[in-house]
Amino acid sequence: MSDSSVRVLLVDDEASLREPLADYLSRQGFAVRQASDAAKARSALLEEVPDLILLDIMMPGEDGISLCRHLVESRKLPVIFLTAKGEAMDRIVGLEIGADDYVVKPFEPRELVARIRSVLRRAGKNGAAQTDTEAHYEFEGWHLDPLKRRLTDPEGTVVPISSAEFRLLVALLDHPQQVMDRDRLLDMVQGREAHLFDRAVDNQISRLRRKVEVDSRDPKLIQTVWGGGYMLAAEVKRFVPVTD
C-alpha cells in the first residue's frame, strides 16, 4: 500500500510535539488525524478506523497503556508507543500489552517513519499484527522470548542480542531446517534497522554465531549452505507459556 492511503491516528497531549509531528508525517504522505487525549482518541476511532496508532504513554486522564490495551483487545490495531522513558521495563510493559513497537522521545522523525512502515508491513503480512508474537521458541535447549527479546542458553543464562540479530534469529527459527538465501533473509529481517543491512547479512550471521555456537569457527546450529544461504539445523518448538 502506498503511504498516501495510510491513515495514522496520533494521540499525544503535548500540542508542541503533536502538531509539528502531524505536519511532518503529512509531508511524508500519511493521512494524519490528531487526538489530545484518550477520550478524544476513542471518539475519533468511532468516526474512522486508522491503519495505525501513534500513542503517547504519559497522558493526563486515561494513559496510553490503558488505551492500548483496549485497542489491541477490541480492534486489533497496530500501535506504536511514543515514550519519554527508555528503560527496559517500559518496553516490556508496552510490548506485552500488545503494542507493536515503540520509539523513545526525542526520536529521529525518519526513524519513526521507518518503523511505521515496518509495523504496517508486518501487520499486512500477518493479516493482523500480533498473531503469534507471544509464542516462545525453543531449540537445542535454547529459549527465545520474542516479546522481551530475551534469549537464554541451555543453562538459563541470558545472552544479549541486538535487534538485528533478534530479527535474523526469528527468521531462521520460523523456517527451521530450510535453506534461506541471503536475499530472502535480508527481506524478512529488514525492519527498523534497515540501514544496518546495507552491510552484509553474513556479518550479522557471524555475530549471531559468536553468541550461540559452541565454536563459532565450526558452526553446528546455523550452517552455511553452499550455493549461498544459511540454515538452522535444529528442531524448533513453539509454545505459549502459561505463566512467565
Binding site: L82, A84, E87, P106, F107, E108, T157
Partner: protein, 463 residues
C-alpha cells in the same frame, strides 16, 4: 594483644564482665572463709591440748618411761609424764601456739613455768608408735602414722615433771574449699545462664535490626516492616526504625516520580524540536542541530540514570558478559567507529544488562571521543570478571585521574563545548560498577619511553 581475644558483642562482653565480677567476689569470700576455718581449727587444737594438760593430772596413768616397754598398756593412751622436755634435737618450737596455749592455761588458773609446743610426724613419735603397736582400735582411728601431730609439754610451777599432751594435727580445711567451688560453679550456671537468656532477648532483635539496616536500600522490596520484639527499649528502637524506613522509602518514591516528570517534561519539547528541525533546508545545519539535541538527550539520560542508579527497578539476571560486550561493540562498529573487540571469554554473571551496557557504552564513547579508538576485552582474573577499554589518547594527568569519576569533571585539556557531554559519563560508569558490587579503575598506559600512550578503563566485577 589481649584486646583481640575479648568478645566484641554485647552478649559476650556482658557475660564476661559478670563472670569476672562473680569470680572476684567468690575469691574474696573463699579467702575469708578459709581464714576463719583455719582459726577455728587452730583454736580447737589449742583447746584440746589445754584440756589434756589441765584435766589429766587427775587421772592416773601408770606409764613410766622405764616400764613402758614391758607393760601391757590397755588404757587410753593420752598423756605422758616425763622428766625431760619433749623437744627433740632438730625440732623447733611453735611460738605462736605456745602463746595461745599459755593464754588458755593461764585463764584456767594454771601456773605454768615452762611450756613447749612442737609438731612432728606421727611416725617419729615413739610414745604414739609404741601405743599403736600395742593395738586398740581407738588409737588406730585417731592416729594416722603418715600424718603429723602436735606435742605440747608443760611444767607446772614448782614441779619438775613434764606433762606431755598430744593431738593429731588437723588437716587443712579442704572440704570447705570444695564446697565453695561447687557453690561458685552453681552460681555461674544460674547467673550466667539466666543472663544469657535475658540478653538474648535484647540482642536477637538487635541483630535482626542490624541485618535489616544493612540490607535496606530504600527499595520497597515487599518485605513487611520488622515485628517489634524484645524488651521495651528494643521494641521502641525497632518501631522508630520502621517509621524511618517508611519515610525514606516515601522520599525515594517521590524522587522517582519527580525524575520521571522531569524526564517527560524535558524530553517532549526536545522531541518537538527534533521534529521541527526536519524543516531546516540546510543539510549541514540540520545535522548540527540534531547532534546538539542528541547531546542534550544523552546528558539528560546520564543525569536521570545517575539519580536512579542506587535504586534500580530491574532485577539481576544471569547474563553472558561476552555477548553483552559484543553487542555494544557491534553498535559502534555499525556506526563506523574504530572499535576492536580483543580477547573475550565466556563469563556468565548476574547483572542488570541495561545498566552495564550503559556503563560500557559510556566508557567506549569516552575512548572514542578522547582517544579516537577503543579496544575492548573481557577476561576472567582470579575471582573477578575484568572488562578493559583502552584508547590511544593523551590519557589523564596523574594528579587528576582520581577526580575523573566525580560528577561534572572533565579532563582539563579537553574542556571545550565541542567535545560535548556533561562529564557524568565516568561518574555513571563507576556508579554502575558499584551497583554490581564491582569497581571502575582508570589508569594511564605508558609506552616504552615512559610517555603516556593511552587511557585504560577497567570494570572489575566479582564472580
Amino acid at each position: 594483644m589481649i584486646r583481640r581475644f575479648l568478645p566484641r558483642s554485647l552478649l559476650g562482653q556482658m557475660l564476661l564482665s559478670v563472670a569476672l565480677a562473680l569470680l572476684v567476689a567468690q575469691s574474696i569470700s573463699l579467702v575469708l572463709r578459709y581464714q576463719a576455718e583455719e582459726r577455728r581449727i587452730e583454736n580447737g587444737l589449742v583447746n584440746e591440748l589445754a584440756f589434756q594438760l589441765v584435766a589429766d593430772p587427775r587421772i592416773e596413768f601408770a606409764t613410766r618411761d622405764d616400764q613402758r616397754a614391758d607393760r601391757q598398756e590397755r588404757r587410753r593412751l593420752r598423756i605422758e609424764r616425763a622428766l625431760e622436755s619433749p623437744q627433740l634435737q632438730g625440732e623447733s618450737r611453735n611460738r605462736e601456739r605456745e602463746r595461745a596455749l599459755h593464754q588458755v592455761l593461764e585463764s584456767q588458773g594454771v601456773a605454768v613455768s615452762e611450756l613447749v609446743v612442737i609438731s612432728r610426724e606421727v611416725s617419729r613419735d615413739r610414745y604414739i608408735m609404741d601405743g599403736l603397736r600395742r593395738g586398740g582400735r581407738f588409737l588406730r582411728n585417731r592416729w594416722d602414722p603418715g600424718g603429723e601431730l602436735v606435742v605440747a609439754g608443760m611444767k607446772r610451777a614448782g614441779e619438775d615433771q613434764w606433762l606431755i599432751a598430744r593431738a593429731p594435727r588437723p588437716e587443712r580445711p579442704r572440704s570447705t574449699m570444695v564446697g565453695i567451688i561447687m557453690q561458685t560453679l552453681i552460681l555461674y550456671l544460674v547467673m550466667v545462664g539466666g543472663l544469657y537468656l535475658l540478653l538474648r532477648r535484647i540482642t536477637r532483635p538487635l541483630a535482626a535490626l542490624t541485618r535489616r539496616v544493612e540490607r535496606f536500600g530504600g527499595v520497597a522490596d515487599g518485605a513487611p516492616p520488622m515485628e517489634p520484639s524484645g524488651p521495651e527499649d528494643t521494641r521502641r528502637l525497632i518501631t522508630a526504625h520502621n517509621a524511618m524506613e517508611a519515610r525514606i522509602a516515601g522520599l525515594l518514591d517521590e524522587k522517582d516520580v519527580m525524575l520521571g516528570a522531569i524526564g517527560h517534561d524535558l524530553k517532549t519539547p526536545l522531541a518537538a524540536l527534533r521534529v521541527r528541525i526536519e524543516s531546516v533546508d540546510d543539510e549541514a545545519e540540520r545535522a548540527k542541530m540534531a547532534a546538539t539535541i542528541e547531546d542534550i538527550t544523552h546528558s539528560l539520560d546520564d543525569i536521570l540514570s545517575l539519580a536512579r542508579v542506587g535504586r534500580p527497578s530491574d532485577p539481576l539476571e544471569r547474563t553472558e558478559l561476552s555477548a553483552l560486550i559484543a553487542s555494544v561493540v557491534d553498535e559502534y562498529e555499525d556506526m563506523g567507529e574504530d572499535v576492536a573487540l580483543g580477547e573475550t571469554e565466556r563469563v556468565a554473571l548476574p547483572v542488570r544488562a541495561t545498566w552495564l551496557r550503559r556503563a560500557i557504552r559510556n566508557l567506549v564513547g569516552n575512548a572514542l571521543r578522547y582517544g579516537s579508538e577503543a579496544r575492548i576485552s573481557l577476561t576472567r582474573e582470579n575471582d573477578q570478571a575484568v572488562i578493559r577499554i583502552a584508547d590511544a589518547g593523551p590519557g589523564i594527568p596523574e594528579d587528576q585521574i582520581a577526580h575523573m569519576t566525580e560528577p561534572f569533571t572533565r579532563g582539563e585539556t579537553s574542556r571545550s563545548r565541542e567535545t560535548g557531554g556533561a562529564g557524568l559519563g565516568l561518574t555513571l560508569a563507576r556508579a554502575i560498577a558499584e551497583q554490581h558490587g564491582g569497581t571502575l579503575v582508570l589508569s594511564n598506559v605508558n609506552g616504552e619511553d615512559g610517555a603516556i600512550v593511552g587511557l585504560l578503563a577497567e570494570i572489575r566485577l566479582p564472580l
